[in-house]
């Protein structure tokens, strides 16, 4: 097992390097000048050249990449062009905020996704299945920014029950899990949880239905195992796939959502990315994307290891 984990970690290295190349080059491919946001629009060509040199954008791209990579390897993601603040500080703060939002959205999404998936799978073609499936389809297909706006209109504007923007009464700097702050998270978390709810429910429904139709389940029942015992076998068999799907969903949630965080002005990675994109803040954009990509890589590694622990056949394969 240890050897397997080490092997997986070694495999991660070229993936991480590839990710770094892609996220560095992609942001450079986008049209626009990163210095536009930090200079008055009528700055002269001479001033622009001066700024370009000051920020190192006058160097060949390959040199810029290796300089950046060298810094990254030393845990330095550079400074934001627009704010001058260290990217690592900006990203860390945003990641923490996205994590808080993702944790709540995960709790909602995974709980309801699993519930709807199992109910629909167990009671296939029954009215319960139809209701659970309808909710799942709604979750997968509804544009979440639209849902966010609708929730804001109902619960913030019309009913005035919940706040519509921000992370708390004083911002996120003193975030605590108290009622004052949790009120702010309800609407974005519900909006964010809708997609994982739908995807997990649909995946689990198909999985549970498939497992229940297999011969070993009939054999278990024939041997007189009770429904609770059968259920435990279904859970064990569904777990690796469910875990893989949940891992991916968790990755998406941790990455924040540009649309949801912008609609709710939630100061997470999505909100940060949105600002960085509009300001062409290349170091911030590169740093944020890299950190998020590394989250995915790390999560995939954890999921792989967990799956292997649950299903030793994977390791043998």
């Amino acid at each position: 097992m240890l050897l397997y984990i080490l092997k997986r970690i070694v495999y991660v290295t070229p993936v991480a390097l590839g990710v770094s190349v892609i996220c560095f080059l992609l942001v450079h491919l986008a049209p626009g000048d990163p210095l536009t946001s930090v200079m008055p629009i009528d700055a002269t060509a001479e001033q622009q050249a001066e700024m370009r040199a000051a920020y190192g954008f006058d160097r060949p791209l390959i040199v810029q990449y290796f300089l950046w990579l060298w810094k990254v390897l030393h845990a330095d993601l550079g400074n934001s062009i627009a704010t001058g603040r260290p990217v690592l500080t900006e990203v860390s703060r945003a990641v923490v905020n996205s994590l808080i939002l993702a944790a709540v959205a995960t709790l909602i999404g995974f709980t309801f996704g699993t519930l709807f998936g199992f109910v629909a799978g167990y009671f296939r073609n029954s009215p319960l299945d139809k209701i659970a499936s309808a909710i799942s389809v709604f979750g997968v297909s509804v544009p979440h920014y639209w849902l966010g706006m609708v929730l804001v209109i109902i619960f913030s504007v019309q009913l005035n029950w919940l706040p519509s923007t921000g992370a708390g009464p004083g911002g996120s700097s003193n975030w605590r899990p108290d009622a004052d702050h949790l009120r702010y998270i309800i609407l974005p978390a519900i909006t964010m949880s809708v997609i994982p709810t739908g995807i997990i429910a649909r995946t689990l429904r198909a999985l549970v239905a498939d497992i229940l139709s297999q011969e070993f389940v009939q054999a278990l029942r024939a041997k007189g195992l009770g429904e609770w015992g059968v259920f435990k076998h279904v859970v064990t068999n569904a777990a690796p796939t469910a875990l893989a799907v949940m891992g991916l969903q968790l990755g998406y949630l941790l990455g924040g959502s540009i649309l949801i965080e912008t609609v709710f002005a939630w100061p997470g990675t999505g909100f940060l990315l949105n600002a960085a994109i509009f300001q062409r803040d290349l170091p911030l954009l590169q740093g944020t994307i890299l950190v998020l990509a590394m989250f995915f890589v790390g999560l995939n590694l954890i999921v792989d290891v967990l799956q292997t622990a649950l299903d030793p056949r994977i390791q043998r394969g």
């Binding site: 629009i41 001058g84 804001v152």
Partner: protein
């Protein structure tokens, strides 16, 4: 306690309650359109909005803008300099003497002196000075192109020398904010640390700074301009770049004031009891026309025809009233408007006649390409507005194809000029302009030697007569005489239909009925000092 004593205590308690109500004027929370708190160190970023909220609040310039009236044109006013003028001994007319205000202190308690002024210029212009700040320099250096040198004459006198005679220097200096040298020293000579605990001389002090989320400002009770000591207890700034999020925040009571409500939200906001406050200000929304070879806009008849083809009142309806139909390049009533003879009316018959005279007609329409953006600072609602224009122009025989680019890219194309391949053969560009001073309002667009890459004369316009007027502006030091020259320039802008003059934004903001005392000046910047909040 006998009755008398009880009454005395009750009376005292009531007095305290009444007094505290009179002085406690509440907290005003504003939803800005910026996606971050503007730079807090002095030279704010985020353009006009940045200066509005983090420039003239925490800081002062040597020269400020008079923001006290909603009806009269907003002009320059003494700031940290009590008076200024050319050195009478200097025949070259390049030396200016600035007499500084005595007794002004920075928020940290240090004195504002001539040394601080020179220190601040070095911060922007002298790359090898310890306090040089690349980010502030990026914002401030291009604002003061006229400045050649500066020096301390005495504790309260500064001399500034310009590269050539330039009467527009006071307008340029109104951009330059004065940060505290003592505070910078105190926080370890670090602008990053200074950004968290900035110190200026302005009417507001920054008390809390959460990057990208929130800035809280409290009154500077020792502000030198006593009538402008803020009445509020606190001013809270929140970046809310998404228009719908701003509206929702206002309607749910999370903020009391939002900048730039979307036109389609105006009716519902009004019906829900939120006043929409508007005023004219030096902004315009135009098509900047190229005068490069081959451009159809080289013919004045085509330019005039296009200007006459626009149904500006119809566009106003489209924008729920949030615009001022253009009557010139500057908004009607502006101090430099003058008396143009070409009236910007909606007259399709006259437009068709002019096009016919120019050799165009139903069988031979003018066909050309215009660059537009999907969004952008000051661009209002560019897509529906440009489509509206496209339809108007098609009705008289001008067929427009759009080249749609992203705002950031449009800025780069604007800098590169209409002859640059990045312009993709377009002969016009939809661009909205900050036109608050002679340089940004007139000179930068049309002076011959400011064609790219030297400047932002995007369309390569060149007219010696216009250049002569620009020189006159720079050499006319008497404000009244200078205004007369600026009027002449504006008349020429309009009479020669140099731009497609469409509309002016109205600086709309929606606010809670609790907000009292706000006077919306005809300016990009505003004064938050007279505002109070109803209980």
């Amino acid at each position: 306690m006998n009755f008398f004593n009880k009454a005395t205590v009750l009376g005292a308690a009531l007095s305290i309650a009444v007094c505290s109500q009179a002085f406690a004027q509440g907290t005003l929370r504003i939803g800005m359109t910026a996606s971050d708190i503007p730079l807090t160190t002095g030279q704010a970023d985020n353009g006009g909005e940045g200066m509005r909220f983090m420039g003239y609040t925490v800081y002062d310039g040597l020269i400020n803008w008079d923001l006290s009236s909603a009806t009269k044109a907003s002009d320059l006013a003494p700031g940290l300099a009590e008076s200024w003028g050319l050195d009478p001994q200097d025949a070259a007319k390049t030396k200016w003497i600035f007499k500084l205000r005595d007794g002004v202190k920075f928020h940290d308690g240090s004195d504002f002196t001539a040394d601080a002024v020179v220190w601040n210029f070095d911060k922007l212009l002298k790359n090898d000075s310890p306090q040089f700040d690349q980010r502030q320099s990026a914002q401030g250096k291009s604002r003061i192109p006229a400045v050649a040198s500066y020096k301390v004459v005495d504790k309260l006198t500064v001399e500034i020398t310009t590269k050539s005679p330039d009467a527009t220097l006071p307008y340029q200096l109104a951009w330059i904010m004065m940060s505290s040298p003592a505070q910078w020293e105190k926080v370890g000579k670090s602008w990053e640390a200074f950004a968290k605990t900035p110190s200026g001389t302005g009417p507001w002090k920054l008390s809390l700074f959460v990057p990208r989320e929130r800035a809280e400002l409290v009154p500077n009770k020792d502000y030198w301009d006593k009538p402008r000591v803020p009445k509020l207890d606190k001013l809270v700034l929140m970046p809310l770049p998404e228009a719908n999020a701003r509206v929702a925040a206002l309607r749910s009571g999370q903020v009391d004031w939002i900048e730039a409500p979307a036109p389609d939200a105006v009716a519902s906001l009004k019906s829900a009891g939120f006043p929409i406050v508007v005023n004219a200000y030096p902004h315009n929304w135009t098509w900047h026309l190229s005068r490069a070879e081959g451009s159809p806009w080289n013919d004045i008849r085509v330019r005039k025809a296009a200007n006459l083809a626009i149904d500006r009142e119809g566009m106003k309806e489209l924008l729920s009233g949030l615009m001022i139909p253009a009557e010139g390049f500057f908004p009607p009533g502006h101090q430099w408007f003058g008396h143009p003879t070409f009236k910007l009316r909606f007259d399709q018959a006259e437009a068709k006649k002019l096009l016919k005279e120019a050799g165009y007609g139903p069988d031979k329409p003018v066909v050309t390409k215009i660059l537009i953006s999907t969004s952008g600072s000051g661009q209002m609602s560019p897509l529906p507005m440009n489509e509206f224009l496209q339809q108007n122009l098609a009705e008289v025989g001008i067929k427009i194809q759009f080249e749609v680019v992203e705002w950031n890219q449009l800025i780069n194309i604007w800098r590169a000029g209409s002859k640059d391949p990045s312009a993709r053969g377009a002969t016009g560009m939809n661009y909205s302009y900050f036109i608050q001073d002679p340089f940004t309002g007139f000179i930068r667009h049309l002076q011959c030697n400011l064609a790219p890459p030297a400047g932002t004369n995007w369309g390569y316009f060149c007219d010696p007569e216009m250049d002569k007027l620009f020189e006159q502006v720079r050499n006319t030091f008497d404000p009244k005489a200078q205004t007369a020259v600026l009027e002449k320039i504006h008349e020429k802008y309009v009479d020669e239909a140099i731009f497609l003059m469409v509309t002016h934004d109205v600086n709309a903001r929606a606010m809670s009925p609790k907000v009292k005392g706000f006077v919306q000046a005809k300016n990009w910047f505003q004064d938050f000092s007279p505002i109070s909040m109803d209980k």
